[in-house]
C-alpha cells in the first residue's frame, strides 16, 4: 500500500498520526491526484514538494477537507476516518494555514485568534450565544498563551491591529490561530513565500516550535533551503503521483530537485 514510502523510509519512520492512501482527485478531465499516499507523524515536520502542478496544493486541500477526494482512505492514528468537509477536518484536529492567511486586518490580534469561537461571559444564558457578551480578558489571555507557546517575541501587544503587523508576524498569528484550536495536524501552505530574511527566520522558528509541541506539521514550500532546515522528511510529488519520501538527513537538495523535475526510475534511482 505505502510502497514508495516504505521503500525509502522503512522501519525508521515514526508511526504516522495522519495517513492517507490512494487519494485520487480529478477536476473535469484533469487528474490532479492519481492515487497519492502520504503520511505525517506527531512531532515531525513533513515537507511536501513538487513542481508547479504536481498536486501539492490539491493534496493539502483534500487533507483539510476543502476538496472532497474522488477515492482514497484517511487514517488517524491507524483508525480509518472520513474527511469530507472543512468541518470534519476541524473536528479531527486538522488545521490549514492558507497562503493568503485570511486574517481580519481591522481586528486586533486577540480577536483574530478567537474569531468564530469567542469566549463569552457566564451568567448570560438567557441570551442566544451570539448575543452574549464576549469575555475580552479571557480572549486576551488565550491569545497571550498561544503567542507564548509559539514564542513570537517581536509582537508587542495582542491588542494591536493585525493591519499594522509585519508579514512574519501575520504568518505567526495565522499559525497560532491554527494551533490554538486544539489541533494535532497543522498544514502550512508556502508560509515564507512573500517574506524577507528576518521574517522567514521568525516563521521557521515557529514551525520548529510546532514540532516541539508535538504537532504533526505538513509544510509546502518551493524553498529547499528552508525545507532542509526545518523538515524531518520530504515527500516529493510529480504529475499528481508520489515520487518518494526521504529523511532529510539522508538526501541532498540536488537529489530532491531531480526527483521533482524528472522523477525516479524503477529501481528508485534518480533518472538522469
Amino acid at each position: 500500500m505505502l510502497g514508495t514510502i516504505e521503500n525509502k523510509v522503512g522501519q525508521s519512520a515514526p508511526p504516522a498520526h495522519l495517513a492517507v492512501s490512494g487519494i485520487r482527485k480529478s477536476f473535469g478531465g484533469v487528474h490532479a491526484l492519481r492515487g497519492v499516499d502520504f503520511e505525517v507523524a506527531r512531532g515531525e515536520v513533513m515537507a511536501l514538494v513538487g513542481d508547479n502542478g504536481a498536486g501539492k496544493s490539491t493534496l493539502m486541500k483534500v487533507l483539510a477537507g476543502a476538496h472532497l477526494a474522488d477515492e482514497g482512505t484517511f487514517f488517524l492514528d491507524g483508525k480509518e476516518v472520513s474527511i469530507s468537509s472543512p468541518h470534519d477536518a476541524f473536528d479531527h484536529g486538522i488545521q490549514i494555514v492558507y497562503q493568503d492567511l485570511a486574517l481580519c486586518e481591522n481586528l486586533d490580534v486577540a480577536a483574530n485568534l478567537s474569531l468564530g469561537a469567542e469566549p463569552v461571559k457566564s451568567g448570560w444564558g438567557f441570551l442566544p450565544r451570539f448575543l452574549r457578551p464576549i469575555d475580552g480578558m479571557a480572549m486576551e489571555e488565550r491569545a497571550l498563551a498561544a503567542i507564548d507557546r509559539l514564542q513570537v517575541r517581536t509582537l508587542k501587544s495582542v491588542r494591536a491591529k493585525v493591519g499594522g503587523l509585519s508579514g512574519g508576524q501575520r504568518q505567526a498569528i495565522a499559525i497560532a490561530r491554527a494551533v490554538g484550536a486544539d489541533s494535532s495536524v497543522v498544514l502550512l501552505d508556502e508560509p515564507t513565500a512573500a517574506l524577507g530574511v528576518a521574517q522567514t527566520r521568525q516563521v521557521l522558528d515557529v514551525v520548529k516550535r510546532l514540532r516541539e509541541t508535538n504537532h504533526a506539521v505538513v509544510y509546502i514550500s518551493h524553498n529547499l533551503k528552508d525545507i532542509f532546515e526545518v523538515a524531518d522528511r520530504i515527500t516529493v510529488l510529480r504529475h499528481g503521483a508520489n515520487v518518494a519520501t526521504w529523511h532529510t538527513t539522508e538526501t541532498t537538495p540536488d537529489e530532491i530537485v531531480v526527483a521533482m523535475t524528472t522523477g525516479l526510475d524503477d529501481g528508485g534511482n534518480n533518472v538522469r
Partner: protein, 395 residues
C-alpha cells in the same frame, strides 16, 4: 512595516495611529462638530442658545436613527439606499392603522415588524441570491416609495394625532429626573471602566495608562453634564433623546461586545476569513439588513411623531436618505467595510444637523447649504481614504 522604507509626514502618521486607537475614531468628527459650533456660535449668537440646541437635537433625530442603522450594513461593506423609503412605508402603515383605530403602541409594533421584514427580505436577496446590495436597495428605494404612495392613498399625507406616537417627541423628563439619570449613567460608566481596569490588573494583562482611564471618565462626564445642562435650561431632556441614546447604546454594545458584532466586523474586514473560521456570513448579512429595517421603522415612527404627520415628501425623494448615509460616513464609518461605530453616526448626524441649522440661521440659500454639505461629506470620505491607505501599503 513600510514606515522606514517610505518616510512620510509625521503628522499624517500620528493621525493614523490616533485613528487606530479605541476612542480615536471619535476625534475627527468631534473636532468637526466643535469647529462648526464655534464658527456659528461667533457668527450667529442665536446658534448657541439652549433653545436652538434643543431644536438641533430634535432635527437630527430622524437622520441619526437612520444613520445608526445604515452604519451596520456599512460595517459589512454593503450599503442600504432604501432605508429612508422603508421608514416612509413603516410610518405610512402605522398612520393608516391608527386612522383605522388600532391603538398606537400596537400600530408602532406592527410598523417595526414590517420594517424588519422588508430589511431581511433585501438581506436575503443580497446574501443568498447574490445581487449587489447597491442594486437591491436601489430597487427597494423605488419600490418602497411606490408602496408608501399606495398606502397613503390619494391625499398623500395623513395627520398624526395619536397621543402615544406624538408623545415620543413631545414628552420631557423633569430637570431633576434628568440630573438623576445623568448621575446614574456617569456612575455606571465610571464603575464599568474602573472595574475593567482592576480586573485587568488582577489578571496581569496589559493596562491602559491611568491618564487614559480617568480621561475617559472625565470626558464622558463632561459631555453628559453639558448635554443635560443645556437641555434642562430649555425644557428638560426630551424622551426622544433618552430613547435614541438607549437604542444606540444597545446597538453599540451588540456590535462591539458580542460574537454577532465581532462577526459583523470580521465579515466586513475579510469575508473569506470569516467564512473559513465557520462564521455564516449569509446569516450575518441578513441580520444586518434586518437591523437596518428595524432602525428605519423606528426612524419612521420618530419622523411621524415629530412632523405630526406622515407625508410622502418627508421621507421619500427628499434629502433624508443622503443625509443619513452622509451622517454615517462623516462619523468615520468606512464605506469599504470593517471599521466604524454606531456612536459616530449620531455625531455625524449632529454635524449635518448643525450645518443645516447654522446655515439656516445665517440666512444662507438652499444652494449654499447643498454645496456646504457636499464639501463636508467629501472631506469626511477623504479622511477615511487617507487613514485607510496605511493598511493598504503594509499589505
Amino acid at each position: 512595516m513600510s514606515v522606514e522604507a517610505q518616510p512620510q509626514p509625521a503628522v499624517l502618521d500620528r493621525f493614523r495611529q490616533l485613528r487606530e486607537t479605541r476612542f480615536g475614531a471619535f476625534v475627527p468628527v468631534l473636532l468637526a462638530l466643535i469647529a462648526i459650533w464655534i464658527y456659528f456660535g461667533i457668527t450667529e449668537p442665536a446658534f448657541i442658545s439652549s433653545r436652538n440646541f434643543y431644536f438641533l437635537f430634535m432635527q437630527s433625530a430622524v437622520v441619526g436613527t437612520l444613520a445608526v442603522g445604515i452604519t451596520i450594513v456599512l460595517l459589512l461593506g454593503d450599503i442600504d439606499l432604501s432605508s429612508a423609503a422603508n421608514a416612509g412605508v413603516c410610518a405610512a402603515l402605522m398612520a393608516v392603522l391608527i386612522v383605522a383605530d388600532v391603538p398606537g403602541p400596537i400600530a408602532c409594533l406592527i410598523a417595526i415588524v414590517l420594517g424588519v421584514i422588508l430589511g431581511c427580505a433585501q438581506g436575503v436577496l443580497v446574501a443568498y441570491v447574490g445581487i449587489p446590495a447597491f442594486v437591491v436597495t436601489l430597487a427597494g428605494l423605488l419600490g418602497f416609495q411606490g408602496l408608501m404612495l399606495k398606502i397613503l392613498g390619494i391625499q398623500g399625507a395623513i395627520n398624526m394625532r395619536d397621543p402615544f406616537v406624538r408623545g415620543i417627541t413631545t414628552i420631557y423628563l423633569p430637570p431633576a429626573a434628568g440630573w438623576v439619570l445623568a448621575a446614574a449613567v456617569i456612575a455606571i460608566f465610571a464603575f464599568a471602566v474602573l472595574r475593567n481596569q482592576a480586573q485587568r490588573r488582577d489578571r496581569g494583562l496589559e493596562l491602559d495608562p491611568s491618564m487614559a482611564v480617568w480621561g475617559q471618565i472625565a470626558f464622558f462626564a463632561v459631555v453628559v453634564v453639558a448635554a443635560v445642562a443645556t437641555l434642562n435650561s430649555y425644557r428638560g431632556i426630551p424622551l426622544l433623546v433618552v430613547l435614541l441614546v438607549g437604542i444606540t447604546a444597545l446597538l453599540g454594545w451588540v456590535t462591539t461586545s458580542t460574537p454577532f458584532g465581532r462577526s459583523l466586523f470580521a465579515a466586513g474586514g475579510n469575508a473569506e476569513s470569516a467564512r473559513r473560521v465557520g462564521i455564516n456570513v449569509r446569516h450575518i448579512r441578513v441580520a444586518a439588513f434586518g437591523l437596518v429595517g428595524l432602525m428605519a421603522a423606528i426612524a419612521g415612527i420618530v419622523g411621524a411623531s415629530r412632523y405630526a404627520s406622515v407625508s410622502f415628501n418627508a421621507f421619500a425623494g427628499g434629502p433624508l436618505l443622503l443625509e443619513a448615509i452622509g451622517a454615517a460616513v462623516i462619523g468615520g464609518t468606512s464605506l469599504f467595510g470593517g471599521r466604524g461605530s454606531v456612536w459616530n453616526a449620531i455625531l455625524g448626524a449632529l454635524v449635518i444637523g448643525s450645518l443645516g441649522n447654522g446655515l439656516d440661521l445665517s440666512g444662507a440659500s438652499a444652494a449654499d447649504k447643498l454645496m456646504f454639505s457636499g464639501a463636508i461629506l467629501l472631506i469626511a470620505v477623504a479622511i477615511d481614504a487617507v487613514s485607510r491607505s496605511s493598511a493598504a501599503q503594509s499589505r
